[in-house]
Amino acid sequence: MKFADFVCFEAIIPELQATSRDGVIAELVSALDKAGRLGKGNREEIIKAVIKREKEASTGMGKGVAVPHEKHPAVKDVVATVGQSSAGIDFSSLDKQPVYSVILLISPVDNPDKHLQAMESIFKHLQQEKFRKFLRQSETTEEIEDLLREADGNPSL
């Protein structure tokens, strides 16, 4: 799967306003909601569900990135967005370091394979230092979109 297949570019937030983990999750879910990707009236419930999942085990995998995610009936297909924080957010990461890039992913409940394919695309790139660096350096929605599209065509990025 490619980023372009599931990332909602319209909902990208190049500089997050929130400074806390829960605030960032709410901001990103709200952006997807505003873009019309979460159905009607599900925003609050999804925010709560993602935070609950995050409390069970941090998705801050280290190296400045976190991938909060949740399966929810509100979506028929996998949808994701990206948020950046230049100040860094405490995500209770495995390496205890702040998180600068957050990819939020909402997946349908009845298609675990699709969820895994989206995760595969995300981590294939997130584990590359070059990709993490470029992502962190991106300052606008357009730059983030360009990077994701470039990564789609370049497995080594």
């Binding site: 069970e56 085990a57 998705t59 995998m61 280290g62 675990p112 595969e120 995300i122 981590f123």
Partner: protein, 115 residues
Amino acid sequence: MLVRGLNMQAEENTLEKVVCEREVEIKNADGLHMRPAMQFVDIANQFECNITVSNSENSVDGKSIMQMSMLAATHGTKLKIKAEGADAQQAVNALQELVEKKHFDEPTPSEQKKR
């Protein structure tokens, strides 16, 4: 001389370098998503040996959560676990138990239907 050198190397291998390889199948319905991947990495890290996990396309470090998440192993996927080091045998046994016997404490598709 050359023959003797090879023999010595072979002897060293049997004494110190245990290599253990096993194929396991993902049994839980949701596959190797992040939580199971974390369980896997937690167990892998309890051992000294190097652990590599492969699917048909990639080989990754079984002790790295980021790399394990990249495997995207769905239900029914077969993975090859390869461990190298003194405790390789124990590591592979423990990981096989997690994947196939406990299926990451999650339901298999048939268990899911019964719910």
